[in-house]
């Protein structure tokens, strides 16, 4: 499968983008709404005009129409043809290739089996659920055996369980086919699970391209850090297994007991929303509970950010405004800090 190279590409909000997506990799683009993610996919697919150059493999495809770029595109709104049945939607691309009827039928059947929608073949898109529609759109985009697959938020607007299920199936299919895939999402957990590499795009600029681990633990700048929501990266000096699935880690004056299935934890990332601050000693066991000094209080729109130092470690906590108002804390004062274990991320050596 070919790689994709964007050289000084500009369109709308996207300005002078330079990017290389390696062949066969799953490249995830994250960023907030309006950052230019879909524009980037449209540029690669050729369905929008742009300045700069796009290479697929060694071929500059700027003058090549979307019909001949060999790109499969799962659009955000899916764009399933409403007047065609599931089967007709999937076979549409194959019929344009002028294949024999029985070849088309076999290919459509195998795709429907792969995404498990064989029983829906005669239905129209409006008769399908959200998850079923996404499967049809995926099968349709895979039908002409594209060299490149562009997926624009393929699991968005699905309930958590269906999204997870679909994501797992998608992963199996993508790993099996080894198609160069560009995948847009704004779900960081999803990005972390499936990506070979992640790119963060903000205001049309690519702020960081890295492996998921680097992305979450070494945000290049404040912009990425804020999006990732992990400004609290704690370097661990030692870690040891306490029991199966339970690890004790030490970082300066902080000794924490964490649920983890590994042993040698080097860094821990804690979301600011998962740091609880109190002006009185919280009830319960003194596990993962520390005393820190309030360094800075910053009021935002509906939340308040509190920077607390615990020895050499600096933690940023984010509290809802009403929760903060109930506390009597001020800069320089001691507070109790409790770390919730729900959404911690770990990096081993």
């Amino acid at each position: 499968m070919p790689d994709i190279r964007l050289v000084n590409v500009s369109k709308h909000i996207c300005r002078d983008l330079n990017l290389t997506i390696n062949d066969g990799e799953i490249f995830v683009i994250v960023g907030s709404t309006g950052a230019g993610k879909t524009t980037l996919l449209n540029i690669i697919a050729g369905v929008t005009n742009y300045s700069g150059n796009v290479f697929i493999g060694d071929v500059c495809v700027d003058k090549i129409s979307p019909k001949k770029r060999g790109v499969g595109y799962l659009f955000q709104g899916l764009a399933l043809f409403p007047h065609m049945t599931v089967e007709s939607n999937i076979s549409f691309g194959l019929k344009t290739m002028g294949l024999e009827e029985d070849v088309i039928k076999n290919r459509v059947d195998s795709l429907m089996e792969m995404v498990r929608i064989k029983h829906l073949s005669g239905r129209f898109p409006h008769m399908l659920s959200g998850g079923e529609k996404k499967r049809v759109a995926l099968a349709r985009s895979l039908a002409p055996s594209p060299q490149i697959l562009l997926l624009d938020e393929p699991t968005s607007s699905l309930d958590h369980q269906t999204a997870k299920y679909l994501r797992n199936e998608l992963m199996v299919i993508l790993r099996k086919l080894r198609i160069t895939t560009v995948y847009i999402t704004h779900d960081l957990r999803e990005a972390g699970e499936i990506a070979d590499r992640i790119a963060f795009i903000s205001d049309g600029r690519i702020e960081q391209v890295s492996t998921p681990k680097e992305f979450f633990f070494n945000p290049k700048n404040d912009c990425v850090s804020q999006f990732v929501g992990m400004p609290n990266i704690i370097e661990c000096t030692s870690s040891r297994i306490l029991a199966s699935g339970l690890v004790e880690v030490i970082s300066d004056k902080m000794k924490m007991v964490l649920p983890y299935d590994g042993s040698d934890i080097k860094k821990i990332a804690i979301p600011p929303e998962d740091i609880y601050i109190s002006d009185i000693m919280p009830p319960g066991p003194a596990l993962n509970r520390f005393i820190g000094i309030v360094e800075k209080i910053t009021k935002l729109n509906s939340t308040v950010r509190v920077r607390v130092s615990i020895g050499k470690n600096n933690l940023l906590a984010e509290l809802p405004e009403n929760a903060f108002d109930e506390l009597s804390i001020e800069e320089g004062k001691e507070v109790y800090v409790v770390i919730k274990l729900r959404r911690l991320r770990y990096i081993e050596s």
């Binding site: 369905v47 979307p66 043809f81």
Partner: protein, 256 residues
């Protein structure tokens, strides 16, 4: 048919039956001055039978029907073809839109004096009027329908390798069908109204001409027969397009 459906049908027919009954009573008991001007419904039915039996109604009806069919079919096909071109090719739209916009607002009957001079008083006159009456709204609705097709469907078809012709005829035109049918349904009834006007003014045969003859002989019963036939034909034509739309679009039109 379910019991509730049957009740609804009866409920819908009730006002019609009441109307016919009132008509009969008003006509029969001379609430209007003179039976000549307001014959009861039963007299109208009797006249309908006579006109059908002696072939007068059939002959005039067939003349009108032929004119409507020729005018409507040619006008609609041409309108759809031009509309597709205007909606699909911007350059055609830019070239034709100003002239279509100028001519569209002219009422179809407004063309009559001009066409009488250009074409003369013959079979082509009502056909041309119906052609004009059908053409402009169908062009307008088809162009709008083609232009309003969500671009993502076109992009999707492009990335699937479809040629422009395949995109147009397999994706865009089918998706524009609801709009096209709106234009066709509008014109299906309108063509009969325009035809009668043309026949009343200039043509010696057809339902319109029969209406004029009845008026000159003060035969209100014949006038009412003609009006009932016209009303039924307008309804039937609109219904034909509604059924065609349901057949072609109904299976998937719930997508919106």
């Amino acid at each position: 048919m379910k019991k509730t459906d049957r009740l609804q049908t009866i409920w819908g027919m009730l006002p019609v039956l009441v109307f016919l009954l009132l008509w009969e009573i008003v006509g029969r008991f001379n609430f209007f001055p003179g039976q000549f001007f307001f014959p009861p419904f039963s007299s109208v039915l009797k006249e309908f039978y006579h006109l059908t039996a002696n072939g007068v109604l059939g002959k005039n009806f067939l003349s009108s029907l032929t004119r409507v069919l020729i005018g409507l079919i040619t006008g609609s096909i041409t309108g759809i073809a031009v509309g597709i071109l205007m909606g699909w090719k911007d350059i055609v739209n830019k070239a034709l839109n100003p002239i279509i916009s100028l001519l569209y607002p002219i009422p179809a009957l407004g063309w009559l004096p001009l066409l009488m001079l250009w074409i003369g008083i013959n079979e082509m006159l009502p056909i041309t009027i119906i052609f004009i009456c059908s053409f402009f709204p169908v062009v307008y609705n088809t162009t709008t329908g083609i232009k309003n097709v969500d671009k993502r469907y076109i992009y999707a078809a492009e990335t699937l390798g479809a040629s422009n012709m395949r995109i147009l005829f397999k994706v865009v035109v089918p998706l524009a069908l609801p709009n096209i049918f709106t234009g066709l349904k509008l014109e299906a009834g309108m063509s009969w109204r325009v035809l009668v006007a043309a026949e009343m003014v200039a043509i010696p045969t057809g339902i319109g001409a029969l209406l004029m003859q009845a008026e000159s002989l003060v035969r209100v019963d014949i006038i009412m027969v003609c009006l009932i036939v016209l009303s039924i034909m307008c309804l039937i034509f609109e219904k034909i397009f509604t059924l065609a739309e349901r057949y072609l679009v109904g299976k998937w039109s719930n997508y919106a």
